[in-house]
């Protein structure tokens, strides 16, 4: 799982497999963002799950959120080569009324295909 002082993690899977990446966070958040970052590119949002949602789906992606344990996950079903990227979770650990201040986890480097 990713957070805080942890180093970037690495996962290698075969095409067609399912994969789940976990994220735990330390402070209250109203939303968990999942970003993917391709080599040489900036992060791009792939799914956003709010604190009143336990699960969110988008195509082959499924995000879960458990606010009681302050943890979440991102699952990719039937992974494809183009899913190869670094995946970050980010929380919006802000006080009410303040501005976006995303706090990113260390990330998971996912490799699909040789």
């Amino acid at each position: 799982s990713q957070w805080g002082e942890e180093n970037l993690q690495a996962l290698s899977i075969q095409e067609g497999e399912d994969v789940t990446m976990n994220c735990s966070y330390k402070t209250y958040t109203t939303v968990v963002h999942w970003y993917r970052q391709d080599s040489g590119r900036g992060p791009a949002l792939i799914i956003l799950i709010r604190s009143n949602e336990r699960e969110k789906r988008s195509g082959r992606l499924r995000a879960t959120l458990d606010t009681s344990s302050q943890s979440g996950s991102l699952s990719i079903t039937a992974a494809q080569c183009e899913d190869t990227a670094v995946y970050f979770c980010a929380t919006d650990a802000r006080l009410s009324g303040s501005f976006n201040k995303l706090t990113f986890g260390a990330g998971t480097r996912l490799a699909v295909c040789p």
């Binding site: 180093n7 970037l8 109203t30 939303v31 963002h33 970003y35 040489g40 590119r41 900036g42 992060p43 791009a44 949002l45 956003l48 709010r50 970050f88 919006d92 802000r94 303040s98 501005f99 976006n100 201040k101 995303l102 706090t103 990113f104 986890g105 260390a106 990330g107």
Partner: protein
Amino acid sequence: GPKVLQIPSHQIIDMGQMVTLNCDPVSNHLYFYWYKQILGQQMEFLVNFYNGKVMEKSKLFKDQFSVERPDGSYFTLKIQPTALEDSAVYFCASSFDKTNTEVFFGKGTRLTVV
């Protein structure tokens, strides 16, 4: 989709000199951000900016750092003077709303201080 453009993509500068990183945010966005990512580590929040003012900054946003967006042009991050530890990739981001919304990132500017 909406794009945040960053210029240049890579800059090498002598320690002690000034550097300005330029960002062209998404055209109708109102909230702007800079993040710093040291190689192999997670992205860290530096500052957010709205209506011509810094709204919040982190402890990484040293006194040598400044941001501005004169007359709705580029949103800039200036470092003066630079230090070796400023070497990192700097990501600019923007959003339309201030909370619970997608934040769009640029590809980053790799700054190397020698």
